[in-house]
């Protein structure tokens, strides 16, 4: 248990952000190193092999599978349009003809004389990858994609849904403890990314969908509301492919959770700026956290040259700023006042490593080290 503390989520005012933009399969890269790109710029393109359909020709023509070859009107590799005849059989001295048509347009991939089936591959599916953030291409992976670099305000969330979205950041909550109510969302927010406070409710999500909001950033979301908007109970925290029409990034957790002041203040200071967000979350091995990236100028180069603030992780120490991430002090923020080395007994009787913390209001508490996360500064 020596290393039992959660490294904090990053909240950086200005930092270098590098994004790998890769295709799922090899393809064509459309930009080169040194190019300045917009978030919307398509940087690479490919085609995924089309879907596969099967046609049971032997069945349709009432012939034996081994006879299929002599009834085929097309051969492997041919491109055939939907509705075109691909096989025919004649019976009763050639007077009656049965024919088999193509169910979809595609290429004949195989003809089997054992199963009597023909496998058809539909047209390839084009796939494009955009730059996701305004910035500069700094690396090229041949036939696969690029690395885009920018200098940006960068905030990691704890949980999100929906894929990547790009829009102008609009602060609608008056404070980090204010829930995002539906009446706060207006038609003016169409195409924008909206900053709420402590909680996004189902009513607000519905309203955002109606209006055409691209993304929501909030402190918390109720699990019951999450289930309603998704239409199912989320079993495992692997998200990013939900199709609900917008992206949601939650910074603190489930339930009503005041957004950390620092996060709220930082995002508020970026009001009106172009913002890229992603809801993709994966908690298991190879952690992916949702994120908010706000490039600081349109080229991705910071005005101040190299004054990039990067927060090195220093580990837990006396004076560290921490957030409690489990009941009974969930969401509270304080400073570490002691790190006793010996194991201590909790109310549950478990013997664990603890730390002592002083909250912002001056009260103190003893918390298992596993139940805090560092607020990286």
């Amino acid at each position: 248990m020596a290393h039992a503390y959660t490294p904090g989520l990053r909240v950086a005012k200005q930092t270098e952000v590098k994004k790998e933009r890769r295709l799922p399969l090899k393809g064509e890269v459309l930009v080169k190193v040194g190019d300045r790109v917009k978030a919307e710029t398509v940087v690479a393109r490919t085609e995924l092999p089309g879907n596969v359909q099967t046609v049971n020709v032997a069945n349709k023509l009432s012939i034996l599978p081994e006879d299929i070859e002599r009834h085929m009107l097309v051969k492997v590799g041919d491109w055939v349009e939907e509705g075109q005849y691909i096989a025919e059989s004649r019976s009763f001295f050639g007077l009656f003809k049965s024919r088999c048509t193509m169910p979809v347009s595609g290429t004949i991939e195989s003809i089997s004389d054992i199963t009597g089936q023909v496998i058809v591959r539909e047209k390839a599916i084009p796939v494009e990858v955009n730059a996701y953030v305004d910035g500069e291409v700094v690396e090229l992976y041949e036939n696969e994609g690029v690395m885009v670099r920018t200098v940006a305000t960068f905030v990691q969330g704890i949980f999100g849904i929906g894929g990547e979205s790009i829009g102008i950041l609009e602060v609608v909550a008056s404070g980090p403890d204010q829930p995002l109510k539906p009446e706060l969302i207006t038609p003016d927010h169409k195409g924008k990314i909206v900053l709420g406070g402590s909680l996004v409710t189902i009513e607000a999500l519905r309203r955002a969908q109606e209006v055409g909001v691209r993304g929501i950033i909030a402190g918390g979301i109720g699990d019951a509301d999450l289930r309603t908007i998704l239409g199912y109970d989320l079993g495992v925290a692997i998200t990013g492919s939900e199709e609900i029409g917008l992206t949601v990034v939650v910074t603190e957790g489930f339930g009503k959770m005041t957004m950390a002041h620092r996060t709220f203040d930082l995002l508020t200071s970026r009001q009106g700026m172009k913002t890229s967000i992603s809801g993709a979350t994966q908690i298991r091995a190879g952690v992916i956290r949702p994120e908010v990236v706000i490039p600081l100028d349109s080229t991705g180069r910071s005005e101040g040259g190299n004054d990039v603030e990067d927060a090195p992780s220093t580990g837990l120490a006396i004076g560290s700023h921490v957030r409690v991430i489990r009941e009974p002090y969930f969401g509270r923020i304080g400073r570490v006042t002691a790190l006793p080395p010996e194991l201590q007994k909790l109310e549950t009787e478990a013997m664990v490593r603890v730390l002592e913390v002083e909250f912002d209001d001056g009260t103190r508490a003893t918390i298992p080290r596993a139940n805090v996360e560092l607020i990286e500064e």
Binding site: T6, N51, I119, Y232, A370
Partner: protein, 603 residues
């Protein structure tokens, strides 16, 4: 390289590691006098992923902790030293691995309930996670099956189908689907996907023709040569061989790790299966084991020497905790919570654990909720296990006149709780429960043992290392298993049957080791604990009332010996099937009463 063929008695020192997906655990075993014992254990984070991307780093770190704890040296120049030179190094190094998500497979067979199910058992027994089962009669359209194969990207596919001399057409169809999907392996874009064919011998040429050019095809014996018999071992061995040759070789650092050990690296669950089979065979007992982790829950059983293993890939206590809620439903979790909690609150707590999986319960209420969820995770995983640990389906059974009234179907579950001798639990929520009796109670509620069953936990989950060690040194593996591996919790006595609350259920007389006698009459709906220490045994006379059965039949008395443990002898008078009161207040009252009777939580 260590000569594993040398006299096993010459082996004094053994290091065994298990590279899990998050932690690498090392144990040091040494020969002390005439027996092998566990000396210490060390652990370190697994280093398969960035920034290290070399599994041996984590292995060396875990072994370095063993060095720190013993003051001995095992590592030189970033290598485990063997053979041993005096006090330096080890005689034998072995390892298991489930890092990088373990072995993920798809299986295919002709009939879902027959060859496809046999293929699934073969894959699970070899330690794989089965991502999907494709069968000619699985009700899916061919293009849906192809789509599925393409999107899942398994590490390997096992194709079976047809008894020898049976259908070749359906096998060809499956082979054509796989070829059309042109699947790519999960790791290493550059190599072709391993496919094992273990079906109808007559279809071998057809399969070769369809798949040899597109995949890395291996052909082995039919896993269901006739309907009446499974032949799973050749396919299992082939899976493990390919796991090493293909999957492991592409996982970062494994090539190096494989050079360190003279024994093939085993998938962790396969090693657990191996030690459990050894114990069941040696002691002629039936065993059920469970390992409940953060993401997955594995259940193993050996009944009448038939080994089965299932993995519930999405039932666990952290990453997958939310899925326990989704599968069990809120009401089923709340029924184990001995206080009032709102549904919305429970949901949020569970999701918060999912997104912050390393947190631990600080309050008693949080602990009770976590243990309630564990009960449901165990119950669901065991239900899935019982569905797969079955006799062969589709087999004609010989029936005599006396069987006429007994409507047993083929494919009935092999899991007979009354015949179960020992139930072994492992995994954080069981092993780290602050009071051992909590682990015992979770096992009882999750598995519902019947009659007389011993309970134990493998506190540090040493079974994987002992399983791989058993391949080359069964004596050392068995000795350590008996002396150091299990923490005996005690014995559960659970009469089967129901009655009205408060009716007499069972009377038990124990002749204690100190010569005293203890007699307890237990009423229906009661839980009773009689302390009996670890390694102590008591002669027991168990007399159930006429509505209850403890193994000999309703109302039949049993004379036996019961084994103690850190919890003691638990008499579960709640009956089987186990039903909790429907009324919430009544249920909370009963839960509180049972917890108090067993001393489960602090007052």
């Amino acid at each position: 390289m260590v000569d594993v063929n040398k006299d096993p008695n010459e082996i004094q020192t053994i290091i065994a590691t298990d590279c899990g997906s998050t932690t690498t655990k090392a144990i040091l075993i040494e020969r002390r006098g005439h027996e092998y014992r566990l000396i210490v254990r060390g652990e370190a984070p697994t280093t398969v992923e960035a920034p290290f991307e070399d599994v041996t780093r984590g292995v060396l770190n875990a072994v370095a902790e063993v060095e720190d704890l013993t003051g001995r040296k095992f590592i030189k120049d970033d290598k485990i030293v063997h053979p041993r030179q005096g006090d330096f190094g080890t005689d034998l190094y072995v390892s298991t691995s489930s890092a990088g998500g373990g072995l993920q497979m798809m299986v295919a067979g002709v009939v879902k309930e027959m060859t496809a199910e046999s293929a699934q058992r073969a894959a699970l027994g070899a330690g794989a996670i089965v991502m999907d089962v494709i069968a000619s009669n699985d009700q899916r359209q061919p293009h849906e099956r192809i789509q599925r194969i393409r999107s899942l990207r398994p590490d390997m596919i096992l194709l079976s189908g047809g008894v020898d001399g049976g259908t070749t057409t359906h096998v060809a169809e499956l082979a054509e689907l796989i070829a059309a999907a042109d699947p790519k392996p999960r790791l290493g874009m550059a190599y072709s996907l391993p496919v094992i064919y273990a079906g109808n011998v007559d279809a071998r040429e057809i399969v070769k023709d369809r798949l040899a050019s597109k995949t890395s095809l291996t052909i082995t014996e039919n896993l269901r040569p006739v309907l009446e018999r499974e032949n799973l071992q050749p396919a299992r061995l082939e899976i493990q061989k390919l796991f090493l040759e293909h999957v492991m070789m592409h996982a970062p650092g494994y090539k190096k790790l494989m050079e360190w050990t003279p024994v093939p690296i085993m998938p962790t669950p396969a090693a657990v299966g191996s030690i459990m089979q050894l114990i069941a065979r040696e002691e002629k007992i039936n065993v059920v084991g469970v390992d409940i982790g953060g993401a997955t829950t594995d259940v193993f059983s050996v009944f009448g020497e038939v080994f089965n293993r299932t993995v519930s890939a999405n039932l666990g206590m952290s990453y997958s905790i939310s899925n326990v809620l989704a599968e069990a439903g809120v009401a089923n979790i709340l029924r184990w919570v001995p206080f009032d909690v709102e549904e919305g609150d429970l949901r949020n707590r569970i999701k918060n654990k999912m997104i912050r999986p390393t947190t631990i319960p600080q309050t008693l209420e949080e602990l009770m909720i976590e243990q309630a969820i564990a009960r449901e995770a165990l119950r669901l995983a065991f239900e899935q296990h019982k569905l797969l640990a079955v006799g062969l389906k589709g087999v004609q059974q010989e029936r005599t006149i006396s069987d006429t009234f007994e409507q047993t179907e083929s494919g009935a579950t092999l899991v007979n709780m009354m015949e179960l001798d020992i139930l072994v639990g492992s995994g954080g929520v069981l092993s780290h429960a602050p009071r051992r009796v909590q682990a015992a109670f979770m096992l009882i509620d999750g598995f519902r043992p019947e009659g007389i069953t011993q309970l134990a936990v493998d506190s540090i989950f040493m079974m994987p290392q002992l399983g791989v060690l058993a391949q080359v040194h069964p004596k050392a593996a068995l000795e350590v298993f008996h002396k150091d591996c299990l923490i005996r919790l005690g014995t559960c006595i659970a009469p089967v049957g129901t009655a009205k609350p408060g009716d007499p259920c069972v009377e038990i007389t124990l002749e204690m080791p100190d010569g005293s006698t203890e007699t307890r009459s237990v009423r229906f709906g009661e839980m009773v604990l009689i302390p009996l220490d670890v390694s102590e045994k008591a002669k027991a006379t168990i007399h159930p009332t006429r509505k209850f059965d403890v193994g000999a039949g309703k109302g039949k008395t049993i004379h036996t010996e019961v084994t103690g443990g850190v919890a003691g002898i638990i008499i579960d008078g709640r009956g089987r099937p186990l039903n909790l009161p429907e009324d919430k207040d009544e249920r909370v009252k009963k839960l509180t009463e049972w917890n108090k009777a067993l001393g489960v939580y602090p007052e």
